[in-house]
């Protein structure tokens, strides 16, 4: 079973293949020969650029998000194409580096998990489309956020490390991100994780200068005071390229280790993605329900009947990835011109909310002669889109194929 975890960002991309120790970091750079069509990535792309003879493109993820393009020697490449080429080359380079090494033999499906920091709906949907297009022939592909990857990483650690709240600071170039995770106690086991960008942005460039390092140390210390005030952590993690050498920030480190366990893992996100890939490859999921920016936080169901027996039909379960493709459901209306949706927030104690979709605009037909298709889609983890289409009843009653679309909130107020 081939398992690969990738953590993608504008500055650098980490790839973990098969095991945690086979993890490599590449600057997210792509270059192409001016006269020729060979592409280079990472450090090699940078070196080739210094030598001349190539055109360099960086910030591939931002370019992709903006739906931009880049022209290399009169050939215009759109951002999707460039990012696709980068990822293809990344996989090839990763495979080349582990060639000849000891690889664990495990039964399962080849899986690729890609993690990105920003769980923006449009970005995730476009990226999901790209990775499926490029890699679904060879791998079972899954896209997650860094917040989710953080959860997968933590849940693989000793239980003592997450028996209370877990905190993490990610320090990358221009990025300081705080993550938090808590696993619930009790019969319903779920892990809630959240993340928040910090207003302080620090560039790696200033770390070369002692004053720059002192300033960074002060900023990190202040951040530590702010974030950890009156919070009790079972463990605190430090990740990202910025924390590769924690000796640069002595004051911050003195504060953060006071009264708590601190672990440093620079490649946390790609390793978290790798851990998740291993589970998926075996057809498994995390034991506890994950609630984060890439997972739905509520059960959505409708009441249906089959062979005169009523039961709830779940359109989605809490903990499902909102990027997961759903299958259309077909229903026959029996003297009913509406559908009620029950939304139960898994972390709430109330009975949930009910939303009614009226179907009175559909053509009126004989009893049990209107079949509808129900399609569920998600726009992030907070909103479900429902589309109901009138199909008539085969050749017996021609369908109008009229569709009614509505959105249902999955958390908070209506």
């Amino acid at each position: 079973m081939k398992v690969i975890g990738i953590a993608l960002s504008d500055e650098y991309t980490d790839i973990s293949l098969y095991r945690e120790e086979y993890t490599y970091r590449f600057p997210t750079l792509l270059s192409r020969e001016r006269k020729g069509d060979r592409f280079y990535i990472g450090e090699e792309a940078y070196k080739k650029n210094l030598d001349g003879g190539v055109i360099l493109v960086d910030k591939l993820l931002s370019l992709f998000k903006k739906k931009g393009s880049a022209t290399i020697s009169e050939t215009c490449y759109d951002a999707k194409e460039l990012l696709g080429i980068f990822l293809e080359n990344l996989l090839l380079e990763g495979e080349r580096r582990v060639q000849g090494r000891e690889i664990p033999e495990e039964e399962g499906k080849d899986t690729l998990v890609l993690s990105v920091r920003d769980a923006d709906v449009e970005l995730m949907s476009s990226l999901n489309e790209l990775v499926k297009e490029k890699f679904s022939g060879q791998y079972a592909v899954q896209l997650i956020s860094h917040t989710e990857s953080f959860s997968h990483y933590i849940l693989r650690q000793d239980k003592k490390l997450y028996n209370r709240q877990v905190g993490m600071l990610e320090f990358s170039s221009q990025v300081l991100h705080y993550y938090e995770m808590q696993v619930s106690k009790g019969t319903k086991k779920y892990a809630i994780s959240v993340s928040e960008a910090q207003p302080d942005a620090l560039s790696f460039g200033i770390l070369e200068d002692p004053r720059g390092r002192r300033m960074t140390d002060q900023v990190l210390s202040g951040l530590c005071d702010r974030l950890t005030k009156s919070k009790v952590y079972s463990a605190f993690f430090l990740s990202g390229k910025g924390f590769e050498n924690t000796e640069l920030f002595p004051e911050f480190m003195k504060k953060i280790v006071r009264g708590r366990r601190v672990c440093v893992e620079s490649f946390l996100f790609s390793i978290g993605a790798l851990y998740y890939g291993r589970l998926l490859g075996k057809g498994e999921e995390e034991e506890c329900l994950l609630l984060c920016d890439t997972r739905i936080g509520a059960d959505i169901s409708i009441k249906v009947t089959k062979k005169e027996r009523d039961f709830p039909l779940y359109l989605a379960h809490a903990g499902d990835s909102w990027l997961k493709e759903t299958e259309d459901i077909r229903l026959l209306l029996e003297n009913q011109d509406y559908i009620d949706f029950q939304v139960q927030d898994v972390s709430a104690t109330n009975r949930g909310k009910q939303y009614r979709m009226s179907l009175t605009s559909f053509p009126k037909r004989e009893r049990r002669c209107t079949k509808v298709s129900l399609r569920t889609s998600f726009h992030g983890n907070a909103v479900a889109g429902i589309e109901i289409t009138d199909l008539g009843f085969g050749d017996l009653w021609k369908g109008s194929f009229q569709s009614i679309k509505e959105t249902i909130p999955l958390k908070g107020k209506e």
């Binding site: 005169e308 077909r330 026959l332 029996e334 009913q336 050749d395 017996l396």
Partner: protein, 261 residues
């Protein structure tokens, strides 16, 4: 009130020949069988249907079970009702009622059964098949009702000459005033126009004048109908436009008639 959860739909439908119907799901099959029980042909459950259930619908267990029962010589009624139950379209109570109806149908005489088949085809708008069924019923046992129904079918397929013949036959059989009235109007659409003149000689005085007045009123209404306006408008647009309009209109009428066969 309920939402009935449906099963898979087939990409390739099953063609239910007698109903001239393409069936895409088990629910549609259940409906077609239950609503038109009189029309279920002998040996409806056959290996082809079982294969379609297994392969196209993904109902492997049902398809194999039915095939197994078929090969063991299971009775047609049990096969049909197994299928109806598995469709989940009807409640158990409704299936019981259908079962009783099945027994009633099979207790009918051949003539009555054929007539009921004709009625079902008529309700489906399959008038040619209805005529065939009524003719069969007539062959077993002649009665005025069946002749009238044949006439009704021919009116639907706009075969006015044949409709007129049916009503003439009906009138000669039982001197029914309704049949004479229908014949009077149909004769207006037949050639030669006076073909059925002799049939009205024995009618009470003044009746044909009343019908003639009705006919003329009908014609006046038809002249002011929206359809007529469209034809006149097309005519005013010129020869080419009118010929194109006429061609389209005739094609749509033909399509409509073919659908009634």
């Amino acid at each position: 009130m309920a939402l009935i959860l449906c099963g898979r739909e087939a990409e390739i439908p099953y063609y239910y020949e007698r109903l001239d119907l393409s069936v895409y799901s088990l629910e549609e099959l259940g409906y077609a069988l239950g609503h038109y029980l009189i029309l279920v042909p002998d040996h409806f459950v056959n290996p082809e249907l079982c294969r379609w259930l297994s392969e196209a619908l993904g109902e492997k267990e049902l398809g194999e079970k039915l095939l197994q029962l078929l090969e063991m010589g299971e009775k047609e009624e049990r096969l049909i009702f197994r299928l109806i139950r598995e469709s989940s379209y009807y409640t158990e109570k409704e299936v019981e009622e259908l079962s009783q109806e099945w027994r009633r149908i099979h207790a009918l005489s051949e003539a009555e059964r054929r007539e009921k088949m004709g009625d079902s085809f008529f309700s489906l708008g399959k008038y040619k098949k209805a005529v065939d069924a009524y003719q069969d019923a007539l062959h077993f046992e002649e009665n005025g009702r069946r002749i009238r129904k044949i006439g009704e079918c021919y009116i639907q397929t706009k075969e006015f000459q044949r409709a007129a013949e049916s009503y003439r036959r009906l009138y000669e059989k039982n001197h029914d005033k309704m049949a004479a009235r229908r014949l009077y109007f149909l004769s207006k659409m037949c050639f030669p126009k006076d073909k059925y003149q002799s049939a009205f000689q024995d009618l009470e005085e003044g009746l044909t004048e009343v019908w003639e007045k009705e006919w003329q009123e009908g014609l006046s209404l038809a002249r002011t109908a929206p359809e007529m306006h469209k034809i006149e408008e097309a005519y005013r647009e010129g020869k080419e436009a009118f010929l194109s309009f006429a061609k389209e209109k005739i094609a749509s009428w033909k399509e409509e008639i073919r659908g009634r066969v």
